[in-house]
Assembly symmetry: C2
Homo-oligomer: 321 residues x 2
């Protein structure tokens, strides 16, 4: 018997691979038209004159079912002929871009040059890929994550891709964030949401920029939605990427508890992994409800299982309130 | 015994495939550093925000030895993954662009956006491909060939690629030509040339725009160089493309004689094919010398054979003068 779609209005905040998995799970169980995914754009980068939005693309490709299942990002089965040809011209191919991928960046860049917003072109590309979820970049304005390591300031992708996250992160800033405005529709979606899901994305460089867009944190704080966070840290380790090391060097606990502390003013329920059950009491002491689950998502079914579980939890929480 | 390189300063005027073959032949026999190829840019086109220079690319790929030998344009063995992905996004892939090709267009577009000239980026790309010939776009300014068919005006690539040259050409104009300036170095190269070669390119849409850049025709007219034209029409037919039909509908003879008439004020010697030997007297009556040869070029050796033949002819003509 097929399970009934969830009719709640759901907003998810997402970064790259972890966020994309959760978003795909949610998309599989929420009624069409009821899911909005707000995606980090602070790690956008301009390469060879093209506007690359790594997190938007990862979420878009995942929702379209065409993401590379091995890396989590990029398009499955993509080739790298253009990148190799760029290298032949003497360019440094430090940032992997596939040939199918290039089509996305070319169309996005063309649209922006014509005066379309990032949101408009994202909507158009997502629709062409058959995505019915509402995909919103956090802002249409330029925001750029900068990483401080010692006395040096790195662009995010320089830190993340070129230098393989090996530098000690001593500080993170989002250039342009104070002048940025939330994408039209973001605050309305948050205001009308029944559930807000903090996907298991890097809290420092994926979720924090979304919350730092002026007005977004306040919109979440004052929302009537049940606000649920899924920890991206399991057993003290990031499922992917450098979140655990970053948390430590920036003075946080590299644990689900550390993440819960960062989100405490915008969260009702923290979802932690079974392996972290020992943290239940500490998270509760922050004033949050705790739910323990298997949070490490495998394939699509597993993602939908977790999505249904946390949305059902939210419904129960609301009916209690 | 290897043949001795020709040390004359040679300038060639070229369009696409026919021009590229002749340019490759010349490059094979002229001493390095002594050959300048001036290329038509009036059929440049912007697609998906990228600046495409079809004739420049055809000449560049051919000189680099990477042109597709079947089509004459594009890169040999190129794939079309990005173009297919553009189509998946709902774009009409009417203009064939290969994945290796995209690298060229991406870098050119980036350079132009940064304020480099078309000449500067062309030089950089050609050098990266190992080309020692000096490759000069006719102008750095925007010029656009427009085709009139009945009451309709078509952009050149719309006529040439999208509508497959099936429209009757009633008129040809080069928008922007009056305001264009020759690329720095063009008039100097012409002034210092010992030989100027009109490659077997379309006289109406490939060579005419070069001659129409203000100052270029005059520079050729007053040059001391021996000026040799190779007919792109053999036995009344264009070797490639619609030149024969265009000549006819625009009131010219679709023959080597018709082409000679168009070039008479800028030419000393007309090279015609053996098959057109009957035209010798008529061409002479225009005041031009005539040379009869096998002008249909096969592979590289054949191109070099023709190049050496016409450059030797020019040397003899000069020593007689």
């Amino acid at each position: 018997m097929p399970e009934v779609p969830i009719t709640d209005a759901v907003v998810a905040l997402a970064g790259g691979v972890g966020g994309a998995k959760m978003a795909q799970g949610l998309a599989g169980v929420v009624e069409p038209g009821r899911l909005t995914v707000i995606v980090n754009t602070a790690d956008d980068v301009n390469l060879w004159g093209l506007h690359i939005s790594p997190d938007l693309d990862t979420v878009m490709y995942t929702l379209a079912g065409i993401a590379n299942p091995v890396t989590g990002w990029g398009v499955v089965g993509d080739s790298h002929v253009t990148l190799d040809a760029l290298a032949r011209y003497g360019e440094n191919p430090w940032f992997s871009l596939g040939d199918k991928d290039f089509a996305t960046h070319i169309l996005r860049t063309q649209a922006l040059a014509r005066g379309e917003t990032l949101t408009e072109v994202t909507t158009r590309l997502a629709q062409a890929l058959g995505i019915s979820v509402r995909l919103l970049p956090m802002t249409n304005d330029p925001v750029a994550t900068r990483i401080r390591t010692g006395a040096e300031i790195l662009d995010f992708q320089e830190y993340f891709v070129a230098r393989k996250q090996q530098d000690v992160v001593d500080g993170v800033t989002f250039a342009g964030i104070d002048e940025s405005r939330p994408t039209p529709g973001v605050n309305e979606a948050i205001g009308e949401a029944d559930v807000i899901v903090f996907c298991p994305s890097n809290p420092i460089v994926s979720i924090a920029p979304i919350l730092a867009v002026p007005g977004v944190r306040e919109a979440i704080q004052t929302s009537d939605a049940v606000r649920i966070g899924v920890s991206p840290i399991v057993g003290g380790k990031a499922l992917k990427g450098p979140a655990d090391k970053m948390l430590t060097t920036l003075g946080h606990d590299a644990s689900a508890l550390g993440v819960a502390r960062m989100y405490r003013d915008v969260l009702d329920i923290m979802v932690i992994d079974e392996i972290d059950a020992k943290l239940i009491q500490s998270v509760r002491e922050l004033g949050l409800d705790v739910h323990v689950s298997q949070t490490v998502m495998g394939g699509r079914r597993d993602r939908e299982r977790l999505a249904r579980e946390i949305l059902t939890l939210a419904q129960r929480s609301r009916s209690r309130a």
